[in-house]
């Protein structure tokens, strides 16, 4: 079926086509009259069968036949022979239709329907499938149907695995067969009681697919399977808690205005919403089952069962790498709160599970303390009235932040919690693959081989030191991506994204490295906490994506300006974020800003000089994993009055992102969307806004 050249139709072909459509039309009208009259006679059935043999895509006809079968089965009572003959006739019609077009969805679906009634022999189905799978071994309909039939007849996984193995041996470019293999193996690996070791199964599969990759590195099917294997290898490790806010061992002091202090001084200096003091858990893979029964928080000031855990996942799913629970400190008199020890215990009972069914690798205890502090002057009032000066470099101190500064000490506490992971078979498997693909790349200049090697190296570094993220191979990985960007321009954006993530990981791999990017902000003339307003400046690094958020949970003030960001996926983990500078990036739509929706502490946002609005129809939106869904809490009172000439339809994406934020300062200039109408719209939906593009609104 593959690689057939397209031919221009000849005149006699078009004549035949015209005759065919004439015949089809008359059959169709005849059929419809039977259908509307609910006629299920033999003649009527034959008409629909004829119609379907010519055009198997006629869904109405298939549905009619379903009605007819139900009607006729009721008519003939309990005689098993006549019931069977009714269903056999359906199978015959489907088979003829499939011979006409064996990619017809309607026909395959009808066959499933007939089979699910349980009056037909399954063995015959397997024989039929063998015929179809010989004709076109990659036909995914047939493979789909095969899975359906083999599940119905309880065929053993081993038999089916053997079958896919044979199909792959006949032609290892058969993507459908590889795909089926991955489905079967997933099932097999979930049947843990059979005593299969992941290690044996996976290393056997690596050997199997390696033969395909080396025989023909240009064929993609095997590479996809290899990618899946690598994913399984990583995921069959138990999930691990990477970091939390507050960190284990942290002693925090919170003042009544919402500023967070450590023993030696202000941590970062921007106030947070005391009603939503976050407790954040950051895992190395998506987990589910975080709730008040699996995570036990012992505290005197609030009760464990009041905590509601929420996944910070852009998708509407119940699994996420980041989970948050908010505590309300607003009702507590912080000025007299003595240090409270808070113990967070998780993993002591089962329930926290990765998508592959692994439980947390070991129980984790996080202990920290919170105390209150009385502050005479309330600096927050003044700050909220003051404008951030984004672009002026003089606003940031020039030297590195001191190792003895409160934030450096906090980071040290985070780092001390991390320990190197033990070696394991995962690492051995990945190391072996790395060696093989380094060999392959010496003899074949193969794009997907380079990409795979880069992925393997990243995976290995992540396995060896999941918490510190010491990137032993980051230079090699960055070189590979540089090559790929040159070799494969159509996908250069993807490679650029991947290398940005690695670069960022490398730049902030240790506390010392991270401190180089921490500056204290001096932009407020009247502020008293001059040296304690810490800004993490990752500006001007040509980043197109950002990551490594597990190390940045404490960040309140983030400068990502002058990069090439087109997405800020993952930024939702930074729950304390109050001030975000995205000036001069490549954000092309409001939907790319969706992570901001869950950053309730955000007060100042600079998205000026991006590309929002430059594409009237944002086709790239679908590249992001989280297109904004229409479901959920989106409400807009239609009658709410908008400024003249402003139509909601044009700005609904902006509305969804900004409506629940309490932004005080916003910079949007330099985007195609930012005209007067839009500005007036923004002002309308953001009642707290005081500064727009440097202009005081009041």
């Amino acid at each position: 079926m593959h690689g057939r050249p397209r031919k221009a139709p000849k005149p006699e072909d078009s004549a035949a086509l015209a005759a065919k459509s004439q015949k089809l039309r008359s059959l169709q009208s005849q059929f419809l009259s039977f259908h509307h009259g609910c006629t299920y006679s033999k003649e009527a059935l034959e008409t629909s069968a004829k119609l379907l043999e010519i055009n198997p895509e006629n869904y109405t006809a298939w549905n009619y036949r379903k009605l007819a079968v139900e009607h006729n089965v009721n008519e003939c009572g309990t005689d098993p022979d006549s019931i069977k003959s009714i269903f056999d006739e359906e199978l015959r019609v489907v088979e003829n239709a499939l011979r006409q077009n064996f990619k017809s969805y309607g026909a395959w679906h009808h066959r499933k329907w007939v089979l699910s009634k349980g009056h037909s022999s399954m063995n015959r189905e397997l024989m039929l499938l063998d015929v179809f799978q010989k004709l076109d071994s990659r036909n995914f309909h047939a493979w789909n149907y095969r899975r359906f039939v083999t599940t119905l007849m309880n065929r053993s996984l081993e038999d089916e695995l053997k079958y896919t193995e044979n199909m792959i041996e006949i032609n290892f470019s058969n993507y459908s067969a590889w795909h089926n293999r991955s489905i079967l193996l997933s099932k097999q690996l979930k049947e843990k009681d059979k005593g299969l070791s992941f290690q044996d199964v996976l290393s056997k599969e690596y050997n199997f697919v390696r033969d395909a990759l080396f025989t023909d590195p240009d064929d993609q099917s095997g590479w996809f399977y290899h990618l899946w294997l690598l994913e399984q290898t990583i995921q069959c490790e138990a999930p691990l808690l990477l970091s939390s806010w507050p960190a284990n061992g942290a002693d925090l002091i919170i003042s009544g205005n919402g500023c967070i202090h450590a023993a030696t001084g202000l941590l970062s200096g921007l106030p947070i919403d005391l009603k939503r003091f976050p407790l954040i858990l950051y895992f190395n893979q998506s987990v589910e089952g975080i709730d008040s029964s699996t995570v036990n928080v012992e505290a005197e000031i609030y009760s464990n069962k009041d905590l509601t855990w929420k996944p910070l996942s852009p998708r509407n799913s119940c699994t996420s790498r980041v989970w948050v629970a908010y505590t309300d400190l607003s009702g507590i008199d912080l000025s007299s709160l003595s240090p409270q020890r808070i113990r967070v215990r998780l993993g002591h009972c089962a329930g926290i599970m990765s998508s592959n069914g692994f439980h947390l690798n070991k129980p984790v205890n996080i202990e920290y303390s919170i105390a209150g502090k009385y502050i005479e002057i309330e600096p927050s009032e003044r700050q909220e009235n003051e404008i951030f000066s984004w672009t002026d470099d003089d606003s940031y101190n020039s030297g590195e932040l001191d190792e003895s500064s409160p934030i450096a000490l906090y980071m040290q506490a985070v780092e001390d919690n991390h320990e190197a992971a033990a070696s394991g078979w995962h690492i051995d498997i990945v190391t072996e693959e790395i060696n093989h693909f380094r060999d392959l790349l010496t003899i074949a200049d193969c794009k997907i081989g380079k990409l795979t090697l880069a992925r393997l190296l990243i995976a290995r570094d992540g396995m060896i030191s999941p918490l510190r993220n010491k990137m032993a191979h980051s230079e090699e990985v960055l070189d590979l991506y540089r090559d790929l960007i040159k070799l494969d321009p159509p996908h250069s954006k993807f490679y650029k994204d991947q290398s940005s993530l690695v670069l960022l990981q490398q730049l902030i791999s240790s506390r010392k490295a991270l401190l180089k990017y921490c500056f204290s902000y001096k932009g407020f003339k009247s502020s008293q906490s001059v040296d304690s307003l810490v800004c993490l400046r990752l500006n001007n690094l040509s980043l197109s994506r950002v990551g490594s958020f597990e190390k940045l949970l404490w960040v309140q003030f983030l400068d990502l300006s002058d990069n090439e960001l087109h997405s800020i996926e993952g930024l939702e983990a930074l729950q304390l974020l109050s001030c975000l500078n995205l000036r001069n990036n490549k954000i092309a739509s409001f939907s790319a800003l969706e992570p901001l929706r869950s950053l309730k502490s955000l007060r100042a946002l600079n998205i000026s000089y991006n590309e929002i609005g430059s594409h009237p129809v944002d086709t790239r939106r679908y590249l992001f994993t989280s297109p904004i869904s229409h479901s959920g809490d989106i409400s807009w009172k239609r009658d709410e009055d908008l400024p003249d000439g402003v139509s909601m339809e044009n700005y609904w994406e902006a509305f969804i992102v900004f409506k629940d934020l309490d932004l005080v300062q916003m910079d949007i200039a330099g985007n195609p969307v930012a005209d007067e109408k839009f500005q007036s719209f923004l002002v309308k939906i953001s009642p707290a806004l005081k500064w727009l593009d440097g202009q005081n609104l009041h």
């Binding site: 290892f172 033969d211 025989t215 023909d216 074949a444």
Partner: protein, 526 residues
């Protein structure tokens, strides 16, 4: 004697053909298809002459009678009638049996090929001829299921001859798999008419020795051997340019690979590239004879020709005298290669029809046939084994090919197998040495395969593996065109391609205006 022989009527023909080997049968079929009146005679009681398939007894008898010269039996008084002599085509015939009673019991169930081992490539000229002559109705083929090559220390490895075979292979390293597949792709690109010049092998490279070219693109010795001997089926040592007389050029090598690959999957029911006719290769000439008979060719077996009639004026051939005493006349005569064209035939300017594989007039082919008790490989009955030069012994200069056929090909009783061996050699002792070394090697590998399968069958090991064995040396004779035409003998190749070419040339010399292949009939299934 006259009672035993029927009278032939008419007595004048366009063409008389003596011998029913494959080239003679093809000429008879082609000539009768072209509307010529043809008489096809054979002194033997069976079809096929030197291409026949016979029982062990008949084969022994035929080999011994054809290994000594037969002087003319016709008293030569009349200068216009010259007695016809034969020359021995075979020498050094050795036949032995370790279990004569077993062979005796099943004697009629064997059909042993005189000119083995030979198979057909699904896309070769012989298959085309079979389809075009419509002889496929008389034939049935079995696939050769697997080929093996001896790479190191007598160890046999399955020939990785396709993309999926390379993928499945357990002997090649990952790097070797990559190299081999890369080479297959290179050949594919070279042959692809849609590819532009840059993807092609350069003209210069096409003229260099194949082995040199393979080295130049970075292939290791093991991969080179696999390509040259088990896919391109080279005979002589390709890495010894000075000594070896038969060096494949890159162009030939690529052509042979192309033949191999276009053979794979030509017929849906033959999985590999090679097929073998059920009941033995003797079926092939017989099928062409049947085709000729349909086109009114007249057949008489058991009819020796004792003498030729020569025109006294110009010394030209005029007719033949049969053993029955009858005289028959034709303007043209075709003889099989065992007959000596009498020197009295005047002005016979004989033109040898040269083909590449028969450059060396002195070359011989050593052939061996073994009847064995077990298959060389468990679960595979029809298979081919290649011993490339130097794999059996350091002196080995030519590849030895071994073809095993089982009872599914209807050539032996169930539970037994036939092994055919052949090697090109320059003298008989060299040929015998190669055959014996190969026979020893297959015995050894059979024992090790069996031991690998079941380790505790001591009783089985006692029985001899080889029940019956024949080895002989066959002369390689070129086809010659003259006033009397001689057909070529069976060659040392695995397939019939060169023989087909030579036969076609002879036919065109005989009948320059006639098509060798008649109008194509619709190709059927094998």
């Amino acid at each position: 004697m006259t009672e035993a022989h029927p009278q032939i009527d008419p007595t004048n023909f366009d063409l008389i053909v003596l011998g029913t080997g494959l080239p003679e049968s093809l000429i008879a079929a082609a000539a009768s298809s072209a509307g010529k009146s043809v008489l096809h005679l054979d002194p033997n009681p069976f079809y096929g002459s030197h291409f026949a398939s016979l029982s062990p007894d008949d084969l022994s008898a035929f080999l011994s009678s054809s290994s000594s010269p037969h002087p003319p039996s016709f008293p030569g008084d009349d200068p216009a009638t010259v007695g016809l002599a034969t020359l021995p085509l075979y020498s050094d015939v050795q036949i032995s049996s370790s279990s004569p009673e077993v062979i005796e019991e099943h004697c009629r169930k064997f059909s042993l090929d005189l000119a083995g081992p030979k198979v057909l490539f699904c896309a070769d000229k012989a298959v085309d001829a079979i389809l075009k002559f419509g002889t496929n109705h008389y034939l049935e083929f079995k696939a050769i299921d697997a080929s093996y090559i001896c790479i190191e220390k007598g160890k046999l490895m399955k020939v990785p001859d396709s993309r999926s075979a390379i993928f499945k292979d357990k002997n090649l390293s990952l790097m070797e798999k990559n190299q081999l597949m890369k080479f297959f792709k290179l050949v594919q690109q070279h042959l692809d008419p849609d590819e532009d010049g840059s993807a092609k092998v350069s003209e210069e490279d096409l003229e260099t020795p194949f082995s040199e070219f393979l080295g130049k693109i970075g292939l290791q010795q093991k991969i080179k051997s696999i390509i040259m001997y088990s896919i391109a089926m080279a005979d002589h040592n390709q890495d010894n340019v000075d000594i070896s007389e038969d060096i494949l050029r890159t162009k030939d090598g690529i052509d042979r690979l192309a033949l191999f690959h276009s053979s794979m999957g030509r017929f849906p029911n033959a999985s590999g590239a090679l097929i073998y006719p059920s009941y033995g290769q003797g079926e092939l000439p017989q099928a062409f004879c049947r085709r000729a008979a349909v086109k009114r060719c007249l057949y008489v077996l058991r009819m020796p020709v004792v003498a030729l009639h020569i025109d006294q004026d110009d010394g030209q051939y005029r007719g033949i005298k049969l053993a029955s005493g009858q005289d028959l006349f034709s303007p043209r005569l075709v003889l099989d290669p065992s007959f000596v064209v009498p020197s009295q035939v005047g002005s016979s300017v004989e033109e040898p029809v040269k083909i590449r594989s028969q450059k060396d007039a002195e070359a011989k082919v050593a052939r061996g046939i073994c009847i064995t008790r077990a298959s060389l490989m468990p679960d595979v009955s029809n298979l081919l084994v290649i011993y490339p030069p130097r794999s059996l012994c350091p002196e080995q200069d030519t590849a030895v090919r071994v073809l095993q056929l089982g009872s599914t090909s209807a050539v032996c009783p169930p539970g037994m197998f036939l092994l055919y061996l052949s090697a090109i050699c320059s003298d008989s002792s060299q040929g015998k040495t190669l055959l014996n070394a190969a026979i020893t090697a297959v015995e050894v590998s059979q024992i090790s395969e069996r031991n690998a399968m079941n380790k505790n069958e001591d009783a089985e090991v006692e029985k001899p593996f080889i029940l019956w064995k024949a080895t002989y040396i066959q002369k390689l004779c070129m086809g010659k065109y003259g006033s009397i035409t001689s057909t070529p003998s069976s060659d040392g190749n695995l397939n019939y391609n060169d023989l087909m070419d030579a036969t076609e040339k002879l036919f065109h010399s005989l009948y320059p205006d006639e098509a060798f292949f008649p109008e194509a009939t619709s190709p059927g299934n094998t």
